[in-house]
Structure formats: structure tokens, C-alpha cells
Symmetry: C2
Subunit: 792 residues, 2 copies
Amino acid sequence: MITHECFTSDPWCIRECGLDLEVLAQTESIFALSNGHIGLRGNLDEGEPVGIPGTYLNGFYELRPLPYAEGGYGYPESGQALINVTNGKLLRLLVDDEPFDIRYGTLHNHERVLDLRAGTLQREVEWESPAGQRVKVSSTRLVSFTQRAVAAISFEVEAVGAAARVVVQSELVANEPLAAPTGDPRVAEALRSPLVAEDDAARDPGRVVLVHHTAGSGLRMAAAMDHLVEAPQKVDVSAETSPDIGRVTVTTVLAPGERLRIVKFLAYGWSGVRSRQALRDQVAAALTAASYTGWEGLIEEQRAYLDAFWDDALIEVEGDPTVEQAARFALFQMLQASARAERRAIPAKGLTGQGYDGHAFWDSETFVLPVLIYTAPEVAAHELRWRHSTLPIARQRARALGLAGAAFPWRTIAGAECSGYWPAGTAAFHINADIAAAVLWYMEATEDEAFMREAGLELLVETARLWRSLGHHDRTGQFRISGVTGPDEYSALQNNNVYTNLMAQQNLSAAADAVQHHEAEAQALGVDQEEAASWRDAARDMFIPYDPELGVHPQADGYTTLEVWDFEATRPDQYPLFLHFPYFDLYRKQVLKQADLVLAMQLRGDAFTFEEKQRNFAYYEPLTVRDSSLSAATQGVLAAEVGQLDLAYDYLRETALLDLGDLHDNTRNGLHLAALAGVWSLLVAGCGGMRCQQGQIGFAPRVPPGLVRLAFRVRFRGRQLQVEVTSGEARYELRSGPPLDLLHHGQRFTLSERTPMVLAIPPLPPMVRPSQPKGREPLHVRPGPEGTSYPS
Amino acid sequence: MITHECFTSDPWCIRECGLDLEVLAQTESIFALSNGHIGLRGNLDEGEPVGIPGTYLNGFYELRPLPYAEGGYGYPESGQALINVTNGKLLRLLVDDEPFDIRYGTLHNHERVLDLRAGTLQREVEWESPAGQRVKVSSTRLVSFTQRAVAAISFEVEAVGAAARVVVQSELVANEPLAAPTGDPRVAEALRSPLVAEDDAARDPGRVVLVHHTAGSGLRMAAAMDHLVEAPQKVDVSAETSPDIGRVTVTTVLAPGERLRIVKFLAYGWSGVRSRQALRDQVAAALTAASYTGWEGLIEEQRAYLDAFWDDALIEVEGDPTVEQAARFALFQMLQASARAERRAIPAKGLTGQGYDGHAFWDSETFVLPVLIYTAPEVAAHELRWRHSTLPIARQRARALGLAGAAFPWRTIAGAECSGYWPAGTAAFHINADIAAAVLWYMEATEDEAFMREAGLELLVETARLWRSLGHHDRTGQFRISGVTGPDEYSALQNNNVYTNLMAQQNLSAAADAVQHHEAEAQALGVDQEEAASWRDAARDMFIPYDPELGVHPQADGYTTLEVWDFEATRPDQYPLFLHFPYFDLYRKQVLKQADLVLAMQLRGDAFTFEEKQRNFAYYEPLTVRDSSLSAATQGVLAAEVGQLDLAYDYLRETALLDLGDLHDNTRNGLHLAALAGVWSLLVAGCGGMRCQQGQIGFAPRVPPGLVRLAFRVRFRGRQLQVEVTSGEARYELRSGPPLDLLHHGQRFTLSERTPMVLAIPPLPPMVRPSQPKGREPLHVRPGPEGTSYPS
């Protein structure tokens, strides 16, 4: 947990004053920069001390063996693991022969600032060497949103008090040593030095390129750097390379108050097909373009890109600066993870760490895309087109499993199933309906018919085919889906998981509808009327279990007859439960890792009455331990919907601080993108009550007691819409685009540009707050007395 | 499949004329000799050619890592694997400097005979070397039932036609090279050369000892040999050793018709605690005792031991010599696997191969023990005392799983769980009730109160405690057991598996009863009246699902609502299904690998009406593919019970030929002990209709149309009972012991010594034969025209 009080609640920055080596790895994740293609962890310029070094290229992976004590048919034999590629962040500094290392000498000042509007990470250091020479070091780092292959660093050294001889070694280093990622020696071996050197070349006065490939996955990458050096006195610049190291050395002497400035341009590229020469030239060209733009140009482009984003994605949270800051941080990190991914995945941790081997899960479609669809829909489309590009692999996987259509992987980098535990991997078929749902949401929000014709329809059709073959009609005519795992990972291989069945039902109906509207394209996919009719049949007959005695939906067949977990006997140090109890025990009892039926009520709200939602929420709340970071936001959204505003606010704060406060104690391995998305969801879908069903967008806003005012903007069908909520009323403004029909707490109205509407919010009846399992209440991270707000 | 027609249907022998190298490995399993402590595969004396070399000591294992692609709490990190120990079978022969190797020169005759009454494997060979020298080689091998640590070989060479110089190298060889057992290099590494040399010593004129230990499991073993040499002319005998090889070389010249005879005595011992010196002396003493007894003495003891066994275990099957031979082979192999195991396990493959890593499963208690209990009850008691000796490990395992009592391992050598796939390992909790059931059966058949006090009671108590903590009362007061795997391995993690619940119910009741009858001993185990009452409660409230619409018992909750496997679309080459379809797909459909509910009807027949048995049998028969060798016998027993005698006979022949015909294509890795037990069960419990409930033994005999007469003997409460059945009547004879109440087709009568009873068998109404899945009918291996009977 990050317990120091050094992040200030700046509305547009994450500012760290001082440096706590205990949480260095966590801050490396929080200060990571990325554009969705290149990811740089917030490692210190000088390389050491380091938590976890990290430089990533989206989609660039090595294969690792997946071993099994007892194998089985269809088990994947190898997985894909994101690897740490050539590190171009390094700028080692020597001051009068002493290495600049904050573990030695005296650190007079250390500040880092992640600027959410500038898109930069700045650092200011004042340091005194063990020999007494004082220097100011400052750096600004960016990964360009506008030039996809480019990152850049402006690095300055100033001598303080006395003249100093200064040497800066700017490096590219491949195969940095990492701590072994697992206990399995074969896996460690495969990932220890994943890059095989192919080419290294230096061209004075400061341009170096390294080309490597991976041995197992057969991917090739190139990294290159170039430098601009400004020095007040004579300066020497030399370059040298060896297979895994490129080094440009800058040597000068600084009088007191004088500064050496180095701008380092970095370019990265990778390919599974392009030749060594082609890649080398590609990064050289990117470098040239970056130099042409120049440092100031890159900075300006970056800010312009972000200005446009923030104009669409504005979010204001009056009354809780921590939540406001967290919401903006979350949006920024989601953009970083996706902006230029361009038909690559959005991994669960973005490009901020190697957690989960860099894999993408359902997190992308179910948690991250709903945010991007309403704030940066072009980016959302890229992700769905990436899924579409993996259809051939998903079809193969379906065939291997004896199914029709396409079976998307539970976890992957490039499309192949990488899950080594099928009950919580392959069996989690809901991911297919989750992808289809994201297609629907995207289409409802954008009406992007080109996307539908080129990718969306085929995704809907192939997933519908999967469901049709996965389920069957029983002897009473009900359509059942057996032996699958729903969202809650403390259950597995259930029959008729309500979430799965409802999402599959939506998938089947939507595919049938889409086929009707795109007859020619559907024919090209081999869909005839009979097939579409069979989807409608299955959707209509879908079995949704219900426990009439309790008046609640069981998570799946028989769930409410299972023994309830003994929460009283569970000690706080036994959470997360899966690290302290066998799956055997978790699966057979009523205990939820994360929202399952409650998520179904969010995503398929149309399938439940309000009273069912209230009863179901009250039933599952005391059973859900939130060992998954995905859960709090969903529980919060439903809490808001059923009128539990205070509880919703508690979940909002827990979600907001998940990474900034390292509440799950694993932020070091990368940020939790889905949980970050949850901050926005809790504000917009929770407090804002935003829902979109069959193209009808609506809001049911209510500000929880802890907040004064909430404002947010969404993009919808070519419009920009702003919603502002206070305790008594909501103000709707259409900032651009044609008039739009909206719902406000179920009441329909039409909104036009330049005529905002202010509508009263109906009061809530008093109600009893449901309880959570003992010790698993939302974390009480309410604002502290001095505006600082991190748990202590 | 063994398709050659070279095994003849000798009533008391398995005789092989000729040698088919294609099935060499299979015959090594079939011709294996063992006494339950030492196991020698039927490898050729000269060592090569060889299918799989094998010398085993019961309980002597090495650890192997159990790797997981994704680990989980409570997963075992290492398994135990039976290893191939020092090979003492080797007698290499050189004839005029040419090695005796049947792959070279000319083989004029080759015959091997496993004699089921003598307990020996004899071999007669007439061979002509490439240079034209002809020799007769004969050997007789035994593993002594009476001297547990001893095996012996009598080896003779006779020169034919011309004089021959003959050299025999009699060896002990440790760490013989084996084919890699798995694709996992770490596992292969751990098991490649498992024995670490500690001591090797030779003492002329032919005594050698080797001592080794294992690196991981820390077990120590010693192997020693001594020789008697009889030669007509001058003979040289010399001995030499190196760490992994002991060699005694015998050199002589034979005139035509002259014979060299070598008797090789072998002694084996192992221990986890005894010192090198102690073990070395232990095997030396065993050797000395064997020499003292002499070859003829060992042969006589062996036959006397087996005469006594066959007197108790007589079985005669008129009308089908193949089945008769197979039944005796089966009994012999079960005796070999268990006779001198003495508080070690009875592995699933006995000591005939390394299949399943040499592990014991529920096979021992559920399939093998019922045979031993009625034919060699002293041996059965040893097995149960072995289980009892592992209670401390089973208690630990229960604690690790969060349960009370003891959780016995799904697969093990020394008691620790070695299953690396928990849904079909740890979750198969029924093994605990299976062990308890074996305790009950043993007690009903023997009334062995000393066993009950010393071991049986504690086994019942600790397993009852497990069930009590594993299940729970639901809100309607029913006792439910969720998330467990029953016998059928094509289902997993079911709720209220009928087999499991019925066996647990019996376990709980029996434990409560036993506590009542052994108050003092129960107190010592900490059981009070309240605890026993809670077991009775759970047993009384046990939930047994039933599908009233279909009138059948679902295998588990909801089973009859699952999709039925598409048998029509399944090709013959796709069996066994688990090698061609994912578990995901198998688990979620109605398809059984092996009898589950049908086994419940055999073992808990009291819980079903006759009509329920008929309906259930008819329901499950078309769903059961018998991909497990355990299934045919159970299906056959129930077929006989419900009156499907023709089908029972078909299953009898399939079971009888499972190993002798290599029907599952894996006999090379060892015999299927449970299937062998099934031959006896099908004859005695199936055709004989033998059942024992609450101490009441009864029979409902019926000879299937293919047989003329069936006779068998069983031991029961100090009596020897013989039952003879023909098509119309059954004859009961009490050969020794006090009068006994018996049931004949439900009719009670009293049998006394010297007054046999002949009773008529009620006729069967005609009925419709149920079908099996397409292509999975019982194998039609009816007798061929010339008395040969193996499938072709």
C-alpha cells in the first residue's frame, strides 16, 4: 500500500514530492508513459535504483512453455509473454567521476510530476555527490501520441556552487536483467534474455540503432536514438555499440549555474514479417521525423492531442479532489493504453508492467471500452478491429473445442489462448458475448456502419454461432448453457450462469438483428434466414434460473443451495482467499470474488425489475469479497442504481485509490486498467446513471452525499453532451450536434444545442444499507484533514 | 491389441508359443512375477530385446516435480513415482563368443509358461547362433510368496549338436536406461538415473551386493545375489562390481547334450530409516535363508502357498475355457500384487509396470479388496492397515483443504496426494467413503474385531468427520455435498453426486454404529455422543437427487438436463474421448467414461428398488462409453442383476480379455488390477449374484446362456463356502465352519457342513437388451472355432 502522503491532490497532475524507495516499483507503474504502442515504465533516468525496469512494445512477445502436471486435450502448450525490450530511457550521469545515484550522497530535493494535460513526466532533482559537488538534474519525458513510433527525453544538468565535469551516457540496452518471473526454471530460461541480437550500428554524432529478434515467437524489433546536445562550453559526443548496448557519451565541464541539455529522440518499431533492413530504416525515418518536429514541436503536438481529448472527456468532481484527480488519472491511463494501439490489444495492465504476462482479457471490452466508446470512440474501434483480426485463430480454437463460430481466448497477446487453467480460462466463454456486447455499445454510440460491415457483423455472427453450438434445448424446450464459468472466479463450470446466459441471449438476438439489416454482408458470411432464426429461437428460449423461495436470481443453477462461506472464521490476512484456500473449497460455496449476477444487472438491466435488482443486490453484497479489482466499480454502479448512494460513494473512493493507493498490493506489476475504467463508470454510469439500450441513451443522476457537483461529457452519435449534477437537479447541455432524445430518470425529453435543460432529481426513500462480508467493507479512504487523502 | 493366437487356453497356465516382438512389452506385463513386495516384469533373461525393463519394490519411489501453468493454493508440488530399481533378472549368455540374442541367428523354438499353481515363469528356447552353434536354454523364475525378500532363477544351457564354450554373466544393474516417461524435461531428469550408488561389494564365489539411495525421496535399497553352479566340466566363477553393476561370470565348456545349470538367488530390501550397513546385512541374511531353503525348497513352498490359495479361491467356468483361464489369471495377479505387500499399497497396476507412476487409487478398495476379502482376507487387512498407517498425512491434507477428519489422496504411493489435476483428483472425495466401505465389507466378511479396534474404527471415524465437514444442511434441512467429482471422470465438480452421497451416507451411519459398539476406543479418538449423532443426522438427511419426469436418478444435480453427447458424430478413432475432446466439452454433456450411478446401484443396492435399477440401468447404458477399464465389470454385474444375462456375458468376456487381449492398448505399462478383479466380480457378484448387506450374505445366481456351469468358493466368517450354478439350479455347500444363514434369490435358508443344498433358479421374463453408444457395444470376443479365443 502507498501510505506516504506525497502525492498531492493536484487536479491535473500526479505530483510526488520526495522519493520513497519502498514504493519505487509502484510509482514506476503510476508514472508510466505510453501511447498504446510504446510503453515506458517510470524508471529513473539513470537506471538505478529500480523497482522493475520496463520498456514495452504492444504485441511484442516471446513464447513461454505452459507446463501441466497432468495434460489434457486442447490445453495450450505455450503462452505468449510480453517482454521487456530495449531500454532507451537510460541517461546515466557522472559528476566528477561519481555516478549520479540517489542512494549515495545527499538528495536535497526530488519531485516527479505526471502532467495529464501535457502528457509528460517531469522530474526535478537537486543532489549533492558524496564528494560534495551539487547538481540540479531535470528531465522531461514523453511518449508521443502524435508520432506513434517516437518517445523523447529532455535532460538537463546544472552545476550548483562549483564547476563540475559532467559525463552523460545515453544508452539503448537490450536484455536487461530481471528478477525471475516465476519459479519454473524453463519459463525463466525462455524469458531471461529474450532478445537475439541482429544488428547494431552507430553513426556520429549520436545516432545509434539496435536490431533484435525473439527466438521463439520470431518477431523482430528495432530501437534507435538520436541526440541534440546544447552545452555552454566545449562538449565531446561519441557513440559506440555492441550487440546489446548502444551508447552515446556526452562530456563537458559546467561552471556554476551553467547547464548541459540533451534532447534524446527514441524510435521503436517491430514486425513479424519485415526484414532487418526494413525495420532499421523504419526507425531511422521515425527518428528523422521526430528531429524535424523538434522537442518543442513534440511537446506542442502532445498538448494539442490531449486538449482535444480532455475537451471530449471532461470530468469534474466538486467536493472530493482526490476522486477528481483519480478520475482524470484513470482517463489519461486508459488513453495511454489504447490511443495508438491500432489493431493491437489493450492489455489488462496497458503497457505499464508485465503483470498477467501482458495479456488482454475481457477487461478490455467489458470495462475499458465502455469508457473509450463515449470519450474516444475511434480508439475503441481499433480495439474491436483487433479482435476482428484474430478471428481466424478464434475459429480454429472453436473447432478444437468442437464448437461452431469463434471462441476468443480468455487471455492473449496476439490471439492464441494462453490460459493454462481451463476451468477459469477456456470455460469462461462469456468473453465472446462480452466482445459482442462491446460491438453493440460501440454501434449504439457511433452508428459507424463502415465498422459494422467490415468487422462488427462478423464478430456478432461468429459469436452467435458459438453460443448456438454451446447451448442446447432441453426436453422442455428451454435453451441451456452448461459447464461454463461466469465472471466470478470463485465459481467455475456452472450450468446456466445468469450473466453468461443473458449476455449470450443479447449476443444471439443482436446477431440475428444485424443479419436482417445487412443481408448482403451476412450472405457473404454464409448466414441464411434459417440460421438467424435458430439464433432468435435460442435467445427466446434462454433459461434464466430464479429462486422463487428467496426471490433472487441464483448466480447459476443451484447456487443458492450451496453452503455460505464462513466469513466469521476468515481472518483478514486470509484475503485474497485464492491465496489461502483451495479452488475446490471456493467453488463449492457461496462466496464471490467479484460481481457476477450484479454485473449482469448492470449490463443487462433490461432483464430485471427494479425490485429484483434491489433484492439481488442485497443478497450478493454480503457474499462478495472483492478479491478482484474489477468488482468495486460494478458493485458501486448497482449500489447507485438501487439507491444506496452512500455505499456507491465508498466504492467510488476505493476504486479511485486502487492504484494510486496500491490497495491490492500489486500495482508494482502494472496498473489495473479495468479498475481505472471503473472510476469513470462509477461516476458516469453510477452517479450519472447513464445507460444506453437499443440506441436510447438516458441518465438517472444522483450525487452521493459526499460530493457537491459532478460534471462530465460524453460523445454520442456525433454529438458532444455535457451533464452536470448537483444534489437537487441535473443540467443537460448539448455542446455540438443535432438535437437528441434523452431520458432523465425515465422521463423522455429532447435536448438541442444552445438550450440546456435543468431537471429536478426525484428524492430517494430512506433505505437500509446492505452489509459486506466481515472485514470486506469498502475501504474507508475518506478525505483527510489537509486535503491529502491516501490511506494511512 | 494382442492378436496373435499363441496364448493357448490352458486352464492353469498362460502359455505363449513363439515370440512376437510387436507385443513383447505387453507380454512382459502379463508374465510379470510379484509377491506384492518385489515385482519383476517378464523381461527376457538376457535383457534384450526388451519392451520396458522393470524391477520394482513396493513403496520405493522418487519424487518428481508437478508443474503447473497456473498454480493454485493446495496444489501438490511434487509427486511420487515408482522407479525401476536394480535389475537382478539378468543372465546374459555368450555361446562361442556370440551373445544369445533372439534377434540374431535362428530361433527354433520359444515357449513361455506362467504357471498359476506353481507360481513360476518358465521359458524354453532352442536357438542357433549365427555361426551355427545350437543351444537349448531354459529358465524358471519365481518371486517367493513365502520368503518376502527373495526371488530366484534356475537357468540351464545345453549344447546341441556340437561342443560349445559358454559364458554366463549374471548381473545386478542399477539405473538401466529407460525411454523418457514424459515430455517434461525436468520430470525426465528427476527419474533418469534415480539411484545414487552407496556401496558395492563382491564376495567370491558369486555373491554380490549393491546399495543405492534416491536423491529426492531419501529412500535406501539393497539388492544382492548369490549363485549355485552345476557344470559337467571345469567351470570358472568370478565376481566383480562397480557402483551400478554387479557381475558374476560363469565360464565353462559343454559337450553336446551337456548342461550348465545356475541357480541365482536374489534378495531385495529397502527402508526409509535403516542404515546402509543394516540394509546390506538384511539382504545378505535373506540370501542365506534362500540358499538354505534351496531351489527345490522354494519351489515346494511356492506351490504349497498357492495350493492353499486356490483351495479357498477355486473358480470353475464350464463352457468357456477362455473366461476360466482369465478368471484364474486375474486371481493370481491380484494375489501377486498384494500377498506380501504388508502395509504397503496395492498399486493400480500392481508391480507389473510403471503406468500411473505406480500409484494406488480407489481401485484397491473398491475393486480389488472385494475379491481379496472373500478369497484371502488376511491380505485385504494388510491393505486397509496400510491406509490406516497414512492417516497422519490424510489428516494434514484435510486441514490444508479446510476440512475435518482425514482426506485420503486420489493417487499416491506413500500417502501424499500426487494428483496434479484437482478436478479429477482432490475433488474425487468419494475415495474416502470407498475406503470406509472396504472396512465395512471386510468386517462383515471376517468379524475381525482386532482390526476394527486397531484400524477400522479410526478409518470410519476420520472419514465420517470429513463428510460431516464437507457437506452442509440447506435451508430445507437436507444434507448436501457440493462441488465433488464422482467415479465417472467425464463429469467433475458436481453437486450431490448420487454415488458420493450414498457412499458418504453409508460411511456416516457406519461410523456412528461403530462408535456405539466401541465406546472406549471411540472416546480415545475424541468422539462423543453429540458427534456421532451429527453423523446420523447427516446420513438421515442426505439429499439424493431424483428426476421424477424420467423416473431415473440423475448422476448428480441437473445431470439429466445436460445435452447428450453426439455419439452418432463420434468416430471410432476418437475413443477414448479424453484424448480427442477437451474436458470442458466432456464435463458438460451426458456421456460417461465409466459406471457411476450404476456402480452406486451395485455398492448401495439397498438404496434402489428393482424397478429403479432397471430404469437407471437402461438410462445410463446408452451413455456409457467405457473408456475406463473399470467400467465393463460394473456394468456387467448390474446387467446380471436386472436380468440382462446375455449382456452380462458380453461384458464378462470383454473384461476377461482386457489385459490378455490388450484391449485398451496399454497393457505394456502394466496390468489393470481393477479390471482383473472385475472378472471375478462379474462371475461371483454378477452371475453368482453375491451380495452382503449388514452381515447377511446372499446369492441370486444365474448362468448366462453362453456358459454351462459356474463354480466358485468364498471365505466368509471362518467358513469356506462353495456355490455351483447351472442353468436351472444352484448347489450350495458349506465345506467348513459352523452353519450359516444364506439367501438364494431372496429366499432364506440355512446351510450346514456336509449337507449341500440344491435350489431351483427362478426363470427370467424376456426383456429388451439396452443399447450402448454407437460403436461402444461390448467387444464381441466369443470363442473361436479351434478353442483359441483372442480377438482378431
